[in-house]
């Protein structure tokens, strides 16, 4: 109960570094980031312009870290960061941004606006201006171990089902395994087929893998709400488990921000490099492909497209791998008009799906994805993020579209040669 404006302002001060200072110094208010943001293109609302979302951080930078700002501060001329501002900005920063980073790709002066919004969230959260839904999910993540409240027994139940259905063993807590698989709550609760698919593929590939019963949750609410302390705590759990089991590689599952959290933010959050590798499941599968460990049979003839999850493609660098893999089982793969690093977000990442308040807007901005799909009219969509998948299903239903959604890993597993 100790969130306060002072704490928020201090958090913002901590977030300013030379990159942020360079970004703010370079912004010319050209407005091109708005055209890159689906929250603007689909709502037409100028408050959704990405660069304006970082106003609290900008004010702190200006008044604390620039000569003119320092002088202005002396005479009380600067625009202040206060609760009124933060209240007004809460929706802009959390509800109208998925941290998809498309703005960062088009900014003509090269500003990583998504990074700045992520940093702004640190101040917002510390000042007590995070949305209810995200606070709830974060609390569950820390206390229960999963933002959706999934506990170990629930996972064990799903694993039992999988083992029964396939006759394959899902190894738990195996010390010295090569791979340690993480799962997102959504996969455990909504898509247990994923576990089945992994069991099949990894068994066929003949590699040793395991799931830790102490740290199986891949998602990280701390990243989404913007509290590094909590994010670090959640990362630490995985690091402890991986070190305990002495695995070589930790696998991030089909979840965008989970990959971002463990692969790119993880070591920086806990302040030291990992002594294991972190890979996305698609990277592992592509390695298997290269090593000839994947034997595929039968090709899909239907028109398939791939929805790039922002954190995996644009923010994660896993862009070629899904395409390599899809081409193994598809004869009719078609790209969306904007694709790869320039894809459009589904509209529910970055904590937006956890924030009930944003339900309406996330469905509205889905229009962007709908337009993209209308243009290429695919028979099915393949993706690699459970969160995207759930929201895409929601969106397609909302817009009365009947396009099946497939997980890349699961579809690949279906095409495994015996």
């Amino acid at each position: 109960m100790s969130a306060s404006l002072d704490k928020g302002i201090n958090a913002l001060k901590e977030q300013v570094d030379s990159s942020v200072a360079a970004f703010f110094s370079s912004c010319t208010h050209c407005g091109m980031c708005a055209d890159a943001c689906l929250f603007y293109t689909e709502t037409g609302c100028p408050t959704a312009t990405p660069i304006t979302k970082v106003e609290p951080l900008r004010r702190i930078w200006k008044s604390e870290y620039t000569l003119l700002g320092r002088i202005g501060k002396m005479f009380g001329l600067n625009k202040k960061v206060d609760d009124e501002l933060l209240t007004k900005w809460e929706k802009r920063v959390y509800d109208n941004c998925t941290l998809c980073g498309r703005c960062s790709m088009v900014c003509p002066v090269g500003n990583d606006i998504a990074l700045m919004i992520r940093k702004t969230r640190e101040g917002m959260a510390a000042a007590g201006h995070a949305p209810e839904g995200l606070i709830g999910a974060t609390k569950r993540a820390v206390t229960i171990g999963s933002p959706m409240g999934v506990k170990l027994p629930a996972l064990m139940a799903q694993i039992n089902h999988v083992e029964k259905d396939t006759g394959l063993k899902v190894p738990l807590d195996v010390e010295g395994a090569e791979y340690m698989l993480l799962l997102s709550s959504m996969e455990i609760m909504n898509f247990p087929e994923f576990i089945e698919a992994i069991a099949k593929i990894f068994t066929k590939a003949g590699v040793s893998w395991t799931i830790s019963t102490e740290a199986f949750e891949a998602t990280n609410s701390g990243i989404q709400i913007g509290v590094s302390d909590i994010a670090a705590e959640l990362v630490q759990r995985i690091v402890d488990a991986a070190e305990k089991l002495k695995v070589k590689t930790v696998i991030s599952p089909e979840c965008g921000h989970a990959y971002m959290a463990i692969r790119w933010d993880g070591p920086n959050l806990i302040g030291k490099p990992f002594n294991f590798k972190v890979r996305h499941i698609l990277e592992i599968l592509d390695e298997f492909r290269k090593d000839g460990r994947l034997k595929i049979t039968g090709k899909e003839e239907q028109r398939l497209t791939y929805h790039d999850p922002c954190q995996i493609s644009r923010r994660g660098g896993v862009i070629e791998q899904p395409r390599n893999l899809i081409n193994m089982f598809s004869n009719n793969f078609v790209e969306m008009p904007d694709t790869g690093k320039m894809n459009w977000c589904c509209g529910a990442g970055g904590g937006v799906s956890t924030n009930e308040r944003a339900d309406k807007v996330r469905l509205k901005v889905f229009q962007r994805k709908k337009d993209q799909l209308d243009e290429i009219k695919p028979d099915a969509i393949v993706s690699a993020c459970s969160n995207c998948r759930i929201h895409l299903e929601d969106g397609l239903e909302e817009y009365n579209m009947d396009i099946p959604l497939m997980s890349l890993t699961e579809t690949l597993a279906e095409h495994l040669a015996d």
């Binding site: 958090a11 870290y65 606070i135 974060t138 909590i230």
Partner: protein, 389 residues
């Protein structure tokens, strides 16, 4: 005075009495119109006006000057015409040209003033020192006193040369004698900013309301001789002063810049410049802008009137215009520095500034860093209990 009788005659009569034919007179008028940049359609009007004009008295005062202006005038190669004009005026005082000296000379001046009070033309060359009257005196009279006394009774004042028009070389930084132009001296007088002026002079100046005298500036170092005679002729012809620009210069001569009338202008427009005095560009007669030509900011008639009997003008001879007919041309940062160049040593300024700023920047950067470190140190770990207020 012997020429008193002449003064009552018209110019036409004077000329005819000297056997100048009407044809010669017409030629003179045509030359005058050409010289004054008037339309040839004006020739008959000039002829008519000059026919009936009466010879005015002219008093020429030389103060802090080099006699270059007088030299220019007397070396004028259009000798016939010049002498004709000087024959038509009564040059009652000019201490370089007159035969009389000493007291006789000063008496001549006073006599001319008394006889023609309110009607004579006062020509001034040289600037007037205001700092200490002792810097320049004539017959024991300070320049300032002599000028104010003479100006009081003038019909018009013609400031000949850059020194009289703007202060010129004596006025150039640091201006040790407190030299000022004719215009500035009168302005200072009207603002009561003049010391060292005698009370008698003051009374006289006030009486003649010096402040409201028309002043025609004919700047140049030296001025083009025909400009001097042109102004005199205009006064003779029309009895009025010619149309002047904002600096008091006759528009007929100073209406366009050297650059506008320069035959090398097409090279400027094409971007063809001489870079040095002996390169190919210089030999090909390209634009001299880069060599410091002040043509674009200098208003004068050199490019069309030319010098030495229309032989050429400085640019035609391969040298950039110095801007001698503009104010402060000595203090303009150097004759060979192009107009778009800064006059100070900016490189040095920038280097010193950079050194100083680097130190300040490092200090400010260190302050930024320590502020950030303080913020990090003040970090209060956020737990799930701290997410709400």
């Amino acid at each position: 005075m012997t020429n008193n009788s002449n003064k009552e005659k018209t110019l036409g009569e004077v000329m005819r009495s000297r056997g100048v034919s009407r044809r010669s007179f017409l030629k003179f008028c045509a030359a005058t119109a050409s010289m004054m940049a008037m339309s040839p359609a004006m020739i008959p009007k000039i002829a008519h006006a000059l026919e009936s004009a009466r010879r005015p008295s002219v008093i020429w005062l030389s103060f802090q000057e080099c006699t270059g202006c007088t030299e220019s005038l007397t070396r004028a190669h259009t000798a016939t015409i010049e002498s004709l004009i000087f024959d038509s005026i009564s040059l009652d005082y000019h201490h370089t040209l007159q035969a009389a000296s000493g007291h006789a000379a000063e008496e001549a001046r006073e006599a001319a003033m008394n006889e023609n009070w309110g009607k004579y033309i006062l020509v001034v060359d040289g600037s007037i020192p205001t700092d200490n009257p002792g810097y320049s005196t004539i017959a024991g009279i300070s320049n300032l006193d002599m000028f104010m006394q003479t100006a009081a009774g003038a019909a018009a004042i013609i400031s000949v040369g850059t020194c009289a028009a703007y202060g010129g070389i004596p006025h150039a930084d640091p201006n040790p004698t407190g030299a000022y132009s004719v215009y500035d001296v009168i302005k200072k007088f009207s603002n009561n900013q003049l010391d060292g002026i005698s009370s008698a002079t003051l009374a006289k100046a006030g009486e003649g309301s010096v402040v409201s005298k028309p002043i025609i500036s004919v700047p140049g170092c030296p001025p083009i001789p025909v400009v001097i005679t042109g102004v005199l002729t205009h006064f003779l012809t029309f009895g009025t002063i010619p149309e002047l620009d904002h600096l008091g210069r006759p528009k007929a001569f100073y209406g366009q810049s050297i650059h506008d009338r320069c035959y090398r202008r097409p090279f400027y427009d094409k971007g063809l410049f001489a870079e040095t005095f002996d390169d190919e560009g210089a030999k090909k007669g390209w634009c001299l802008y880069k060599l410091g030509c002040k043509g674009p900011t200098t208003y004068n008639a050199c490019a069309t009137t030319k010098w030495n009997d229309g032989t050429s003008f400085p640019i035609e001879s391969g040298h950039p215009c110095l801007g001698c007919s503009e104010p402060d041309f000595w203090d303009g940062g150097g004759f060979y520095k192009a107009l778009s160049m800064p006059t100070e040593n900016i490189t040095q300024t920038a280097i010193y500034t950079a050194a100083g700023a680097a130190a300040v920047g490092v200090a400010l950067g260190a302050m930024n860093k320590s502020k950030k470190n303080n913020a990090v140190a003040a970090h209060n770990k956020t737990t799930i209990d701290d997410l709400e207020k």
